[in-house]
């Protein structure tokens, strides 16, 4: 069975390590905050100028001056700090953020990422995505394995305008987890009940299975 959105978020949350500073993108990545494993402390960064982002506020706590990068009202956790956009991206560009988890339209086997623009369609802009993927220590993409129209999202080369080149370290889809290696995608984990053959049928680009998976049936 493919992973659901929540299972995807739960799987992505297992990438978090104690003490990490993490930036979560919009969509499924935002759900990752709901599955931070017990006993692990991570600090969430929001690129509009907030470190130590907490959950949505109670109805009587809503503050117009306290939002996240998705423009949603949020709260502080104890120890939170706020700062300017230039300082926020000094953290990002300067390599001080441990991990970014974000969505994608396409990822290439070289780790190229496309997630901001479809030519001929409404262009909204890249926001902070280009800065994040080029500056953060580790970049993990969480996305559907295949686009809703059936087209491939994992490719030899991206066909959409890029957000960054050679920036993605790991991809978590509803079917599997794979690493971007010097020799292309390597599948390190399959969603429960998904077989190697099923995965191969749904994947246009050629992938390798790591040794542990090869031994499994």
């Amino acid at each position: 069975m493919p992973w659901t959105r929540n299972q995807l978020a739960e799987r992505a949350a297992r990438e978090l390590k104690d003490g990490f500073y993490v930036n979560l993108g919009i969509g499924i990545p935002t759900l990752v905050a709901n599955y931070i494993p017990r006993g692990i402390t991570v600090t969430l960064q929001s690129e509009n100028g907030l470190l130590g982002m907490g959950p949505f506020p109670l109805p009587d706590e809503v503050d117009a001056d306290l939002i996240n990068a998705g423009k949603q009202t949020v709260t502080f956790v104890p120890g939170a700090s706020t700062f300017s956009s230039a300082d926020s991206f000094a953290m990002i560009r300067g390599g001080h953020i441990d991990l970014a988890i974000l969505g994608a339209m396409q990822v290439s086997e070289h780790g190229d990422l496309a997630n901001w623009m479809i030519p001929g369609k409404r262009v909204k802009g890249m926001g902070g995505a280009m800065d994040l993927v080029s500056g953060v220590q580790r970049v993990i993409v969480v996305m559907e394995h295949v686009a809703q129209d059936g087209s491939a999202k994992l490719l030899g080369e991206c066909t959409l305008p890029l957000t960054g080149t050679r920036v993605v370290n790991r991809v978590i889809t509803d079917l599997c987890v794979m690493d971007v290696t010097a020799t292309g995608f390597e599948v390190i984990e399959l969603a429960d009940g998904v077989t190697r053959q099923q995965l191969a049928e749904k994947t246009e680009v050629s992938v390798r299975f790591n040794d542990a998976l090869m031994e499994r049936a």
């Binding site: 423009k71 802009g125 926001g127």
Partner: protein
């Protein structure tokens, strides 16, 4: 308080009676503005309304977003006062899209961190800087590439704006500013890059009431202050959790 006293004994002040008078004589057609705010958070709403009323046109505006249709910079789009936006994200705005698709509005997309740094650099007298952000993408086209320690960077230019409009929480009449929560965002960076900077604030205090250690933007960067204690502070997406 020697600094705050003028020779004839009246207190020196950067405070103007209202947003309209604060923009008097410093706005003109074709100028380059830097405007603070992220979405509708921390936008100088009264100053934007006054800019609209001033009727100046052909403006180029460096601002992370373009507001929404009925609020913020979106209001300047409705009156066709904007020629070009320099922004990182312009969703949530139908009039923006219409003008852009019809070729009535130019857009220069700048990655969010690059835009913030362009303002910071411009305000700090730095004409350009190298960044990895955007290397290998559309935004690197036509820009100088340079390798440092085996990594490729592109040259981005600092922004020096003719006029910066910012929103702060508190100010004294010398223009020292304190921001609140994430309403800080681009405001401190925009404040430094204006040849003239006007700040709209919710709370106005006397010099000495702000602790020097708590001031985010020293008054040297701020030329005019407008007190707007009743800012609307609209929220784009109210999200809450259950008790």
């Amino acid at each position: 308080m020697v600094v705050a006293e003028s020779k004839n004994g009246t207190a020196f002040t950067k405070v103007w009676p209202d947003a309209r008078s604060a923009l008097d004589g410093i706005v003109r057609d074709g100028m380059l503005l830097a405007i603070g705010g992220f979405g509708l958070c921390g936008v100088p709403e009264a100053l934007i309304l006054a800019l609209r009323e001033s009727g100046v046109r052909n403006l180029t505006i460096a601002s992370n977003n373009a507001g929404v249709d009925q609020w913020g910079i979106g209001m300047l789009l409705q009156t066709r006062q904007v020629k070009k936006m320099i922004s990182s994200y312009v969703g949530e705005n139908n009039e923006f899209e219409r003008q852009y698709l019809h070729g009535e509005l130019e857009v220069e997309f700048a990655p969010q961190g690059t835009l913030a740094e362009r303002m910071r650099a411009g305000g700090a007298g730095i004409p350009g800087f190298y960044t990895r952000t955007g290397v290998g993408t559309l935004i690197a086209e036509g820009k100088e590439h340079k390798e440092f320690d085996g990594v490729t960077y592109i040259l981005e230019r600092g922004i020096q704006a003719d006029l910066a409009l910012v929103k702060a929480w508190k100010a004294d009449r010398l223009g020292n500013l304190v921001y609140r929560r994430t309403a800080r965002n681009f405001n401190p960076n925009a404040a430094t890059c204006g040849k003239v900077t006007v700040a709209e604030v919710e709370v106005l205090v006397e010099p000495g009431e702000l602790d020097p250690d708590e001031i985010h933007t020293p008054g040297i960067f701020v030329h005019r202050v407008v007190h707007n204690p009743n800012a609307e502070k609209r929220i784009e997406k109210i999200t809450t959790r259950e008790a």
